[in-house]
C-alpha cells in the first residue's frame, strides 16, 4: 500500500517533468522564449544526436568521465589514507588537524591559478585540481570518523589482544565508514564542479571546454546538450555511490 502510494507520486512527479519539458517546447515554438538563449528541447535533442553521431560528443564525455574518475579516486585514496593517519594519532590531531580547519573554507577552485603557473594548460593540471580540491571533504570526514571511535571499542580491541593493523582494519575503518561515505559523496560533488572549471580554464577537451566554446560561438543548442550530459553524469554517479553506500552500510538499517 505504502509502496503503491509512493509509486503513484513518483509517476505524478515524472508527469510534471514531462509537462514542464513540453511547456518549454511550446514556449520555444511560439517564440516567447528567445531562441538565441533557449533552443527548446527539440533542438537540444538534435544537437545531442548530432554530437553522438559525429563522435565528438562521445569523446568529450569520455574525457570528462576519465578525469572525474581518476581525480576522484586519487582524492579518495589520499583523503581517506591521510585522514586515517591523522585520526588515529593523538599527536597529529593536536598539531596537524587545526590547519585543516583553517584551509577548509578556502574555495578549492582558487588554487586553479596557482596550478596553472606550475603545470600550465594541461591534463595533469585538471587532475591535480580535482584531486587537491576533492581531497578536503574526504580528509575531514575521515578524521572525524576515526577520532569518534567509542573508547569501549578500543578496550575491546585491547582485551582481545589485537594489534594496530587489526584494530584499524576490523574496528576503526568499518566504524568510520558512515562518515567516510559522506565524505566520498561530498568529494564527488566537488570533483564534478572542478572538472568543469578545469576544462573551462584549460580548454583541453571535455564537456566543460565544449560548452564554453559553444557559448563563444553563440550555439545555444550545443550548450544545452552539454549541460544536459553533465546533469546526467552528476545524477548517475551520485546514484551509483548511493547504491554502494546502502550496501556497505546495510547494518545501519533496522
Amino acid at each position: 500500500m505504502r509502496h503503491l502510494h509512493r509509486g503513484l507520486w513518483f509517476m505524478a512527479s515524472l508527469a510534471l517533468l514531462v509537462a514542464l519539458i513540453w511547456g518549454w517546447q511550446v514556449l520555444a515554438d511560439a517564440r516567447i522564449l528567445p531562441r538565441a538563449f533557449f533552443p527548446g528541447p527539440d533542438r537540444t535533442w538534435r544537437a545531442l544526436s548530432r554530437g553522438f553521431a559525429s563522435g565528438t560528443l562521445v569523446a568529450d564525455t569520455l574525457t570528462t568521465l576519465r578525469r572525474l574518475g581518476l581525480g576522484w579516486v586519487l582524492a579518495s585514496l589520499l583523503g581517506v589514507g591521510l585522514g586515517a593517519l591523522v585520526g588515529t594519532s593523538k599527536w597529529a590531531q593536536d598539531w596537524v588537524a587545526p590547519i585543516f580547519e583553517v584551509l577548509r573554507p578556502l574555495p578549492a577552485s582558487a588554487i586553479a591559478p596557482v596550478l596553472l603557473l606550475f603545470l600550465g594548460l594541461t591534463d595533469s593540471m585538471i587532475l591535480t585540481l580535482i584531486a587537491f580540491g576533492a581531497l578536503w571533504p574526504m580528509l575531514l570526514t575521515t578524521v572525524h570518523g576515526f577520532s569518534n571511535i567509542h573508547p569501549r571499542r578500543k578496550e575491546v580491541a585491547r582485551s582481545l589482544g589485537m594489534g594496530r593493523g587489526a584494530f584499524i582494519a576490523k574496528i576503526a575503518l568499518p566504524g568510520a565508514l558512515p562518515d567516510i561515505m559522506g565524505g566520498l559523496r561530498l568529494g564527488l560533488t566537488v570533483a564534478l564542479i572542478l572538472v568543469v572549471v578545469g576544462e573551462m580554464i584549460t580548454v583541453q577537451g571535455g564537456l566543460g571546454a565544449r560548452i564554453l566554446l559553444a557559448a563563444r560561438a553563440f550555439n545555444a543548442a550545443e550548450i544545452f546538450a552539454g549541460v544536459a550530459l553533465l546533469g546526467v553524469i552528476g545524477l548517475v554517479t551520485n546514484a551509483l555511490l548511493g547504491l554502494v553506500e546502502t550496501r556497505a552500510l546495510r547494518w545501519q538499517r533496522r
Binding site: 569501549r152 571499542r153 578496550e155 575491546v156 582485551s159 552500510l249 547494518w251
Partner: protein
C-alpha cells in the same frame, strides 16, 4: 543433584588464579582505590558491591589490566600483570558500544577467534556452538540492531567465551535489562560459569543479585575505595530464583548487606 554441585571449588582445590596485593589506583591527585587485597580462586564466583564512588569499576579495570596500579601489584597465575590478556575476558555493561554494529552475531563472535588466530575452517563450528550455548541459536545472521538488549548481552558473553578465558570480568552486565530478562540471564550465567569452570568477577549495585550469584561478596567502601568486608555465601547450589531467595540465610545476608550499604547513603 546436590553431590555434583556446590563442591566444585573444593574438589579442584583452592587454586589461586588472580591475586591483588595492596594495589592503589590514582587518577591525577585523586585516589580511586587504596591498598586493595583480594585473591580469586579457580571456578569461584565473586561479586563486588559498594556505594557509588567506591571504585567498583576501577577494581574491575585493574584486574583486566586496563589500568595499572600506582602501588602494589596484580598477579595473574603467579606472574605480574599490567596489560590486558586474552585469558581474561571482559563483559561490559554498555553492550551497544562493546559489540560491532556492522558485524552480525556470527561476525561478532568471530572477532575474538580472528584475534586469537583461529584458522578460518575451525571458526564456523565453534561460533555455532558458542551461540547456542548462550541461547542464540537461529540468530546467527542477525545484526545487533535487530536484537533486544538481553540478546545483545548474550552475544557479548558468547564473544567473551570465545576467548576461552580463565577469568570472566563483568561490569554490571545486566544493569540495563528488565527484571525478567535479568533473572533468566543470571541462571544461564551460573550454568555457563559452572560448565566452563571459569572464575567470575561480577560488579553489581543490586544486592540480591550479588547474593544470588556469589560464592563470596566483596564490599567496598568509598573515599578512597577500599575493601571493607568480605561476606561468604554458603547457599546451596544450584540456586533457584524462588526457593533460594526465600532461604533464611539469603534473607540474613540481604539484611547485613543493606545495613552495610545504608551507612553510606546520605
Amino acid at each position: 543433584m546436590l553431590e555434583t554441585t556446590g563442591i566444585d571449588a573444593t574438589k579442584s582445590g583452592t587454586q589461586e588464579v588472580l591475586r591483588v596485593d595492596g594495589a592503589s589506583v590514582r587518577y591525577g591527585a585523586a585516589t580511586i582505590l587504596d591498598g586493595v587485597d583480594l585473591t580469586l580462586n579457580r571456578g569461584e564466583f565473586v561479586c563486588v558491591i559498594g556505594p557509588s564512588g567506591s571504585g567498583k569499576t576501577t577494581f574491575l579495570r585493574l584486574l583486566a589490566g586496563l589500568v595499572a596500579p600506582a602501588e602494589g601489584r596484580v598477579l595473574f597465575r603467579g606472574a605480574e600483570h599490567r596489560a590486558p590478556s586474552r585469558e581474561i575476558a571482559i563483559v561490559f555493561q554498555d553492550y551497544a558500544n562493546a559489540l560491532l554494529p556492522w558485524r552480525d552475531a556470527e561476525g561478532n563472535v568471530s572477532l575474538a577467534l580472528e584475534a586469537a588466530g583461529v584458522p578460518r575452517a575451525e571458526r564456523a563450528g565453534r561460533i555455532r556452538a558458542l551461540l547456542s550455548k548462550v541461547g542464540l541459536a537461529g540468530s546467527e545472521k542477525k545484526f545487533p540492531s535487530e536484537m533486544s538488549g538481553g540478546m545483545q548481552q548474550r552475544l557479548q558473553i558468547a564473544r567473551c567465551l570465545a576467548q576461552e578465558p580463565d577469568v570472566l570480568l563483568m561490569d554490571e552486565p545486566f544493569g540495563a535489562l528488565d527484571a525478567m530478562t535479568r533473572q533468566k540471564l543470571q541462571d544461564e550465567l551460573l550454568g555457563i560459569v559452572r560448565d566452563s569452570n571459569v572464575t567470575a568477577f561480577f560488579v553489581t549495585h543490586d544486592l540480591e543479585e550479588a547474593i544470588y550469584l556469589s560464592d563470596r561478596i566483596v564490599a567496598l567502601e568509598p573515599d578512597p575505595g577500599q575493601v571493607c568486608r568480605v561476606f561468604d555465601v554458603t547457599l546451596p547450589k544450584p540456586r533457584n530464583q524462588l526457593s533460594t531467595r526465600e532461604m533464611p540465610e539469603f534473607l540474613r545476608l540481604r539484611r547485613e548487606l543493606f545495613d552495610f550499604i545504608e551507612r553510606f547513603e546520605p
